[in-house]
Subunit: 143 residues, 2 copies
DNA sequence: CTATAAATAGAAATCATTTCTATTTACATT
DNA sequence: AATGTAAATAGAAATGATTTCTATTTATAG
């Protein structure tokens, strides 16, 4: 937690109860959370936070490299703690239960240089999304 | 065109003026089009088509493998003709002008088996999005 | 030609996200 | 500790892409 508050200070963000509460939530729940879900969880802990504030805080934390965002195929936004900054964050999404897992492995350099040559473009970022059945759903399916 | 109408028949879709008009549009414009843009272009050609119809037709054509969809980071949907069915359709999106180009090259098998082992999951699909500057925007930037 | 299921238009609803503005708060500075 | 100020926030309202609903029209099989 202290580590993250320090990052916030670096970025000249004030340390507010809402920002701390959102951070704590992500530290406790080690998974992807959506804005409304976050509002509800904070509400249960008796901290009412407006949705616009939540959206803003999530964006700020993402900008500071604390959270990573995933645009789910349901077209909703989800965020989770960024365990390792400065590495690629790719995702495996279960097509059955929507669970999201991070994928670190990625051999991208070959594709990247292929594209720069073929399209004469400058590659900046890339993101890989893998869809399939997570271990749980895979098991259920075969029952 | 005949080729695509045959596919529609295969899928038991009726050949209607709207569906033909949408297909013709994609055959003429060799690029990604959004639903509203499509409505406007058809309107100029004096064929009024409701947006719900356009959304439905696009989904149907995608289901039949005629169109491919991209969920743009603007969170809007775009479609373009699928030149080669049964191959991966990955995308390069210009972060400046939003131009979309298809990327066929993809060495995915290594990542796929890594994930299946590591997560004990079953991989079904994958999509790769590369962002950067297209050749035109790259040139402008250096001017 | 007719019957019928599919396709369509248009209005309305949905709903995640964003914008706006008045009020409150963190915290740097006295 | 008190104060001033920019930043943060709530809440209401707007936005806007997409979807739903339903009455009407149409493609096409027989
Ligand atoms: Mn990567
Ligand atoms: Mn691929
Ligand atoms: Zn699952
Ligand atoms: Zn460009």
């Amino acid at each position: 937690m202290e580590k993250y508050l320090a990052v916030l200070k670096e970025y000249h963000f004030k340390i507010t109860p809402r920002r701390k509460a959102v951070l704590e939530l992500f530290l406790r729940q080690k998974r992807y959370l959506g804005p409304y879900e976050i509002k509800q969880m904070l509400g249960k802990a008796s901290l009412e936070v407006g949705l616009p504030s939540i959206y803003r805080i999530l964006e700020e934390l993402e900008g500071a490299g604390i959270l990573i965002k995933i645009e789910h195929s349901s077209r909703r936004l989800y965020y989770s703690l960024c365990r390792k900054p400065h590495i690629d964050h790719h995702h495996f999404v279960c097509s059955k239960c929507n669970r999201v897992e991070e994928v670190e492995f990625c051999n991208f350099s070959e594709i990247s240089s292929f594209i720069e040559e073929k399209l004469n473009a400058k590659v900046q970022h890339h993101s890989l999304r893998i869809e399939g059945l997570c271990s749980q759903c895979r098991r259920k399916k075969s029952l």
